[in-house]
Amino acid sequence: MIMAIAAVIHLLVALLLAPLLLGVINRTKAVFAGRRGQPLLQLYADLAKLLRKGAVYSGTTTWVFRAGPLVTLAAVTVSLLVVPFAGVRAVGAFPGDFVLFAYLLAVARFFTVIAALDTGSSFEGMGASREVAFSALAEPALLVGLAALARRAGGASLSDCYEAVRLFDFGPNGGLPLLLIGAAFFVVFLAENARIPFDDPNTHLELTMIHEVMVLDHGGPDLAFVQYAAALKLWVLGALVVGILLPLRTGFVALDFGFGLAAMAVLAVATGCVESTKARVRLTGVPQLLVAATVLAGVGFGLTLR
Amino acid sequence: MIVALVLLPLTAGALAFFLRSDGLRRGLLVATALAHSGLTVAAWLRRPLAELGGWLELDDLELLILAVTSLLFLVAAVYAVGYLRREGRDQREDYTEGFLFVNAPEATFTGCLLLFLGAMTLVIGAQHFGLMWVAVEGTTLASAPLIHFHRHHRSLEAAWKYLVICSVGIAIALLGNFFLVVATSALDDQLGGLTVRALAEHAGQLDPTWLRAAFLLLLVGYGTKMGLAPLHTWLPDAHSEAPSVVSALLSGALLNCAFLAILRLHGVCVAAGQAAFSANLLVGFGLVSMGFAAVFIVGQRDYKRMLAYSSVEHMGIAALGVGLGGAAGFGALLHVVNHSLTKGMLFLIAGNVLAAYRTRSSAEVTGLLRALPASGLLWLAGFLAVTGSPPFGPFLSEFTILRGGLAAQRPVIAVVYLVLLLLVFVGMAMIVPGMAHGETNVARRREPWLAVVPPACLGIGVLILGVYVPRPLADAITRALGALGLS
């Protein structure tokens, strides 16, 4: 019962705090750059402002363009239902749920992409093209990694997988495989959320952008949906990374929950650190990084075969 | 009755040389063909008695081949009426080289055609090896003028080659016959004639060495006529230069007759306990023939030559099937029937194509389905049939042979056989569909029914044999195999 309540609470917390993660990342980057930076809650303000605005649509677009942000947001939100957090099983956990999870993210991506193509703009087409290419390569890394987790957990749902992860687990199936899979997931996390070194969320220099360029034409409530969906996606994937790399469990739900939130903050800071210290890799280097992630996950799986 | 079957076409043939009216002669041709078929049907219904002291007899095997020959001749005769009407006797331009030539007199053509039938009937009916040999030689002599119907240098060359090669073959077969006589020398006078039946009865007392040598010689001799590679060399030339009616008969009827002669001696060998020897030879020749045919069909540029090589292939299949024995033997005899009908149809259609397109190059023929819809359709269907695709007859027989080959524990041979079949299919698939489809400059025309109905009848027959093997046919084949000792 407590777990169920905790799971629902996680849902609410995630929906509420997801935009904060971006704030933490941006603040970290500002600190690195020696700036004061924007307020932690900047995104909330942005969202509120956007929701109150009207909309401008290109004459080229169709209903697909309008549907893009909505479907994206809906899909990411549904995916949240199967994500466990800090030892708390997800509301909708079931065997194989991570497949649904991965494919819901694919739905979100698909609609973002076709909404971008709907504008007929070559810039957005370029972003769409890169997005599908890189995410297609990220997909196997994520799924193989999850399959490895499922194998060592003996259960095929995300919640099973993450329940079996323990900190300082140096057993035959812990330690090294977990580290490899965690690394792979971190790469996927950065790639899927359009962070440096894959993408630069801050520049608007077309030739280097992926995600941001796809949503150039959205405005008003639509842009709010897009940004909120991006924040949620950051949260769900972040939860997966944190669940492997920082699995602090005490047995007390509330305490674990607190640790979980702290871990998310750590992840956000870490992301900010990466973004501040790393340069964006060349576009041709991105696939190599993603293939490397798949290999890491595959090796992780192989290690569990012993 | 058998004598009547033989004499009927012979007399009609002789008569044809002297008839002056074209119409009467054509009528005579068709009437003789009809009468011959009628007699054949009668023979099926009521088995005729042996004649001339057992020298002439129609058993199951003979009836089978006779029926095919008679049917094919009837169809060809009907087609020939239309063909002769088209041909005329004025000077004509040659398709490929452009010179002028005339045809042989129609009386010669019709007469030889009928004599040819008579000789073939004699081959089928003859149980005596000597008589059979005389009859086979008779078929050569009767058909050579047919090949030389168009009086120009190419057909002359084809006829000359046909004559020389078949004569050499037949001479070798004669030597084989003598060897056979020597093989019987232990029997002195008990034999009572060199008939198949007598030899099979006394097979145990035959001298094995001479028998085997005799089989070799007869196989090579009649194999030349039958078109087993590498003895087949006359076939492509003769088939491509002869009028299509003649090609149809050569391929569909004559080859079978030669095969029949070989089969009979194979039966004697089986009875004499030399089955393995003769069967292996047949298998070997079968595979070599198929291989030769495949090599020449792939990339073949002349569609009539392609059909000729296909005949080589199918004779090889039949020989292979008989050699393998068992189920394959059944398949082989069924295949002989299927092949005759299919190839007869294809050659007749080839005649239509040649008449409309005036070229034998398959690359220059396109859009058959547009210019000659009926012929085009039959051409495609014939291609599928002849390559052994369901739902046509040859599929069943080829499949049965494959089954027999694997059942006889000869997987390598079965696989080689299948690969060669597939190769031939690929080779022909590169040629035939390209002819049928596409655009063409040849104007669409009404096809005379005399040019379409006869091959269509054969086509329907092949289709029926592909979905239904009539009980009497199957029984006849089974009994024939039993008589040969192959079942």
Partner: protein, 657 residues
């Protein structure tokens, strides 16, 4: 059973009648549609009842053909494969009536419909035949009927070439089947399916023959070469039927033979997994590189056959390692994907055909902006795209999910190397899914979105009703199976159990498949509800705001042009260049030169690498080799007599020594 035979008779009779009424368009169309719909209505209930009750019907008439018998049987497996045929055939028929209207008076449509009906009848016969001879006859007649349909536009050279490739490929495949059935029939001396059995020979040889023979039809890589040729060449309703249903008869045959062969060794499962992964990944990659929408779809058929093979592989491994749950899930996924692929690939081919019909081009790069001009076609094409990419809430996701689940079950329960199937399958499926989504984002996005790239597209109008109805029906079916997945899979229980060789009413798999599917369906429903809620929310937000229409934001460039839009080739370029080692794309054109380039051009084409670099050279080499042997028939009589004499002497010497 009688109903089934009546349907067959109706189809053949209808085909013959259509041939007879070739010139009277209305009458002919009426006959064809009547026979197709009638046959479908008559047989569908039979099939459904058979599946629901899990029982078998059989019928045997004598047939005077060596070892042949007119043996028919209807068990759940056959009935299941009947379903897509019976659903897709009438829809394709309805579509075809409208589609072929453009050829009225120019082509013999009676013949075309005759072959269409024969194709449908033969496909039905293939799945219910219970005698090898009957099966092979139906099998080859099916191939020939479809060949006749493929070369419908035989005035085009590429169509003729495609027909030739198809004819040769299918016949070579059938060759393997000949051997297979003969070997299977040997022990009992009968070719009735009930008597088939593996003799002393190697089981793996039989398996290999089945994979080659049936795989050629199904389109396993590298036996797929005919697919990308034949599907684009044929009229779209035929492509839909061939790609949606006919290639599945290969899967059916494989399953049927697997049932005969008994317990599979792990190597078979691994073979299927390897074939599946190769076909799936390479299929979708080749698809990505195509510019012709129907060719693209044809490669996606290879991809989806790969997914089915992955499912079969997982199922077979489940059987080998005695994991009923894994076997159940694998086979269930594979089978459901068979039906799903029939629906969405049918939908997509029909949609592509509608586009070609309206614009007279199949070049993706010449299209654009069609969603506005053809809303029905566009929307249903989008549904099909989502379904084939395996996106929830559509049906493609459900079957892929089952295969994933089977693979994961393997990963969890199996020890040692067997568990690696989990990683291989999930990795391959994940990659395939991602690439498929990319490919259909490209196909849908470039064709239907943005601005028209040519006059063809600009002048397009929505197609007529007879072309639209099938699209809508199929799209609805895709969604319905996606949402009703638990019921569908439960309904197919008898089929899956039979195919997986499990004891009847084995609960393990169902228990494993049921609850997750319910959750998947629930998730899909929640997704749809959420989208609906968001639509309402946005409507509320924008209710009193100004909505303006403007030009697409062009990043400050002053003179945007339609031709500046991203192209299909450009869209796929990051992936195609990444995988160029496999694709071997040809690039031709004038590079950009100088500071002020006047003109530049680039054209890419990706012909099938296996066709180009394996099959063509081999065939050409054989042809050259044979051509070199032509001197044998050199024309000199002397030479010919020499052959005879040599043959004779060699034989005599060999015999007498």
């Amino acid at each position: 059973m009688i109903l089934l035979i009546a349907s067959l008779a109706l189809l053949l009779g209808g085909g013959a009648a259509a041939l007879a009424a070739s010139r009277r368009d209305r009458l002919r169309n009426g006959i064809v549609l009547g026979s197709l719909v009638g046959a479908s209505l008559a047989s569908l209930p039979v099939a459904i009842v058979t599946i629901a009750r899990g029982e078998s019907l059989a019928l045997q008439w004598p047939w005077s053909v060596p070892l042949g018998s007119f043996a028919l049987g209807l068990d759940p497996l056959s009935a299941f494969f009947l379903l897509p045929i019976l659903v897709l055939a009438p829809l394709a028929g309805i579509y075809g009536v409208g589609y072929l209207r453009a050829w009225q008076g120019r082509k013999n449509l009676g013949a075309s419909w005759f072959f269409f009906n024969v194709l449908v009848a033969c496909m039905m016969l293939v799945v219910v035949a219970r005698n090898a001879v009957l099966f092979l006859v139906a099998w080859e007649a099916m191939a020939l009927a479809s060949y006749a349909l493929v070369v419908f536009e035989d005035e085009r050279g590429d169509v003729r070439g495609a027909g030739r490739t198809y004819l040769v490929a299918t016949h070579l495949g059938t060759g393997a089947l000949f051997v297979l059935f003969v070997l299977l029939g040997q022990p009992a001396g009968s070719l009735d399916f009930a008597d088939l059995g593996a003799g002393a020979g190697s089981l793996s040889l039989l398996f290999a023959l089945a994979v080659i023979g049936f795989g050629t039809k199904a389109g396993f890589m590298p036996l797929h070469v005919w697919l990308p040729e034949a599907h684009p060449a044929s009229p779209s309703h035929v492509s839909a039927l061939m790609s949606g249903v006919m290639i599945k008869t290969g899967i059916y045959g494989l399953l049927r033979i697997l049932m005969v062969l008994g317990a599979p060794p792990p190597a078979w499962g691994w073979t299927m997994v390897a074939i599946g992964a190769t076909s799936g990944v390479l299929g979708v990659l080749f698809a990505l590189a195509q510019h012709d929408v129907k060719r693209l779809l044809a490669y996606h058929s290879v991809e989806n056959i790969g997914i089915i093979a992955l499912g079969l592989g997982v199922g077979l491994l489940g059987r080998s390692y005695d994991q009923p749950a894994m076997a159940y899930l694998g086979f269930a996924g594979a089978l459901l994907h068979v039906a799903n692929h029939a629906l969405f690939k049918g939908l997509l081919f029909l949609g592509a055909g509608a586009v070609a019909h309206a614009t007279h081009t199949r070049e993706i790069d010449h299209l654009g902006g069609l969603l506005k001009r053809m809303p029905w076609t566009g929307t249903t094409f989008l549904a099909g795209s989502a379904a084939i990419s395996g996106l929830p809430p559509f049906n493609g996701f459900v079957s892929e999910f089952l295969i994933f689940l089977g693979a994961l079950t393997g990963a969890v329960t199996l020890g040692g190397a067997g568990a690696a199937v989990g990683a291989v399958t999930t990795g391959a499926l994940g990659l395939i899914g991602g690439l498929a989504a990319a490919c259909f984002a490209k196909a849908f996005g470039i064709m239907f979105l943005g601005e028209p790239r040519s006059r063809h597209a600009a002048d397009a109008t929505e197609v007529g009703r007879s072309l639209r109805v099938p699209l809508v029906v199929l799209a609805a079916a895709c969604l319905a199976i996606g949402l009703g997945a638990p019921f569908v899979v439960a309904g197919l229980d008898s089929v899956v159990v039979a195919a997986a060789g499990l004891p009847p009413h084995d609960p393990a798999g169902r228990a494993l498949a049921g609850p997750p599917l319910r959750m998947v369906a629930l998730g899909s429903a929640v997704l749809l509800a959420l989208v609906g809620a968001l639509v309402l929310a946005r409507r509320g937000l924008l209710a009193r705001r100004t909505i303006t229409t403007a030009l697409t934001w062009d990043c400050g460039y002053a003179a945007p042009d339609r031709r500046m839009q991203y192209t299909a080739a450009g869209f796929a370029q990051p992936l195609t260049s990444l995988f160029r080692f496999a694709l071997r794309t040809r690039r031709e054109g004038e590079p950009v030169r100088g500071l002020f380039p006047a003109r530049a051009s680039l054209a890419t084409s990706t012909p099938d690498p296996m066709h180009r670099e394996i099959y063509e050279p081999v065939f050409a080499a054989v042809g050259r080799l044979f051509a070199k042997r032509r001197w044998v028939q050199g024309g000199q009589t002397q030479l010919y007599v020499l052959y005879i004499v040599l043959t004779l002497l060699v034989l005599l010497v060999w015999e007498l020594s």
